[in-house]
Symmetry: C2
Subunit: 343 residues, 2 copies
């Protein structure tokens, strides 16, 4: 039976505060057979692209009662990725199939519940897109913007983390809907991308603003109808002051809070009442039933060049810890992907 080395990224121990590369360990010694154990009805995957996502920070802490199950120290980190089926004991999958879904940060992973994996039908687009625009972040932008915020032409849209895996899509969806959209990011390079690549009407670097409320008033003299919330904290506090009556806030992340031992307090919540705001949190995996509908919309847009997607791709599992950690200081430009293998 063929055997292979299986390099892995291991979480050493639970993390406090900002995660560091040294919280993870690259383990190279494991040798595994390239075949499922006799009688398994799982699948053996060869991992191709791994996705670095902000929600993974929560899994690095041993938090009680969190929605996200903590990682297990000493075992490989798990996350979303694109993979090729090497061996299958499940009737839905056969050797050679391409899939995306939950997998391990390692070269090969056995998935014992393959029904959670999505089979990739369309390979006429970059495969890595299934970690981004065609995967979880894409569905997040779609569900949060269209389903929760129910945008109307001419409305004013504000996006934080606007060049990130989700934000770059929200901005483009907003333009396709005929909205006025402003984004914020943490470097001038990203601000340029927002305006020149993703079609944001305006963009600003929040790190260069002394007063976020004043910045928002400058970009939204009429106020904000829709806020796509990715950061929380002080940004949310300023946005609440600038929302319009009947505004909607779709909340899928609060990255500014993930590395704090105690969350910041957010003021101005009385705006929720005065302006009759809707604030709706969501976890996109609850809504994966809408994936086919989303694919039907977005794949033609990609192929016709009406939407673009920027990825920040690093090579090799050995680059994965730094890539993941970099998310929390905004090092990535666009969707952060790790290539484990290209086929």
């Amino acid at each position: 039976m063929e055997e292979v080395k299986n390099q892995q990224v291991i979480l050493k121990d639970y993390v406090n505060g900002f995660p560091k590369e040294s919280d993870m360990l690259l383990k190279t010694s494991t040798i595994i057979p390239l075949k499922l154990p006799q009688g398994s009805n799982g699948v053996l995957l060869k991992n191709l692209y791994l996705s670095c996502d902000p929600y993974m920070r929560a899994r690095m802490s041993k938090t009680q009662g969190s929605y996200f199950e903590p990682f297990t120290p000493g075992l490989p980190i798990t996350g979303l990725g694109v993979a090729k089926v090497v061996d299958s004991g499940h009737s839905n999958f056969k050797k050679g199939d391409l899939v995306w879904g939950g997998t391990g940060w390692e070269e090969y992973t056995i998935i014992t519940t393959p029904q959670t994996l999505f089979k990739i039908q369309d390979t006429d687009v970059p495969l890595s897109y299934y970690t981004g625009i065609l995967g979880m972040p894409g569905m997040t932008a779609y569900y949060g913007f269209y389903e929760i915020c129910a945008p109307k032409k001419g409305e004013y849209v504000f996006v934080s983390s606007a060049s990130g895996a989700v934000g770059q899509l929200v901005g483009q969806f907003a333009k396709l809907t005929g909205c006025y959209v402003v984004g914020t990011a943490g470097t001038n390079e990203k601000v340029e991308l927002l305006k020149n690549k993703f079609g944001y009407d305006e963009a600003f670097n929040y790190k260069e603003e002394q007063d976020l409320d004043a910045a928002l008033k400058r970009y939204f003299p009429e106020g904000i109808d829709i806020y796509f919330e990715n950061v929380g904290g002080k940004m949310l506090e300023a946005v609440l002051l600038n929302m319009r009556v009947n505004g909607r806030i779709s909340a899928c992340g609060m990255i500014s809070q993930y590395n704090l031992n105690q969350e910041e307090g957010v003021r101005n919540l009385s705006s929720i009442i005065m302006k009759r705001l809707l604030v709706k949190g969501f976890i996109v995996s609850d809504h994966f039933n809408l994936l086919p509908k989303y694919m039907e919309m977005v794949i033609p847009l990609i192929k016709e060049g009406k939407i673009c997607y920027i990825e920040d791709i690093v090579e090799g599992l050995e680059s994965a810890p730094a890539a993941l950690v970099g998310l929390f200081s905004g090092k990535n430009v666009g969707k952060q992907v790790v290539v484990v293998a290209r086929e």
Copy 2:
């Protein structure tokens, strides 16, 4: 032409922090004719019952951009009340009609936009109820609980300011729906009312709790499905930690914040995401189109004794300033009403 004295409650100046009785002035000298000016198409009202409501605090400040228009210093305070039409220049109203709606804190008021008034059809119930269970607070409880929170039998409901004008109804609506409902209030007398009069399953005095999170965990070991938000601040912060997945928060008031120059920060907003919460603010006057539907439901419940309503009634306009101020220290037990005249 008959002339009458018109005693008035005047706001002396805009208020900072907690309002005091001395922020208002009782003016007794005005003499007015008991007839509308020639050609008026308004109505002249004799005020019977005036409503003291927490939202009125916002109108005592000169806040820019607030939903509620500030009062004008030197003029009578305005608010909701029950009144009798003394003279009418409007075809919808005739002398002797009973109405509720926006009026002045004085004995007689000319309303130039009588289309904003609601004609009282059912006089087989205490007239003062049109400041409470049959008026704005009743609709607030109805809309916030049924329309926003969409309660299901067996769900866990938490109500703050639970014995107040709105809260006492939310608790009873929750029991009628088959929910488990716990309320909180600020005195032991009110806690007894919650349990013995309004049928709350449990109730506690939040002023006697060192740790609101621990208190909520004691009363809701399974967590909270529905929170009817009347107070904001630290209570909201603790509630967020105890919400269940897919919970709903209906927000119509944050009384704990109204007298602060700067709002408190609220932590734990990331629960909105992790637990996929819906937080919806509303201003009940947006939804007065549902009044007939609500009346159809609630009037039989009152007449059959299936729902009760506690009022805290003080006599005379001279008692109005203290009654209004008392709301913010929780002095009132039940809906705070001022009787100006009984007919």
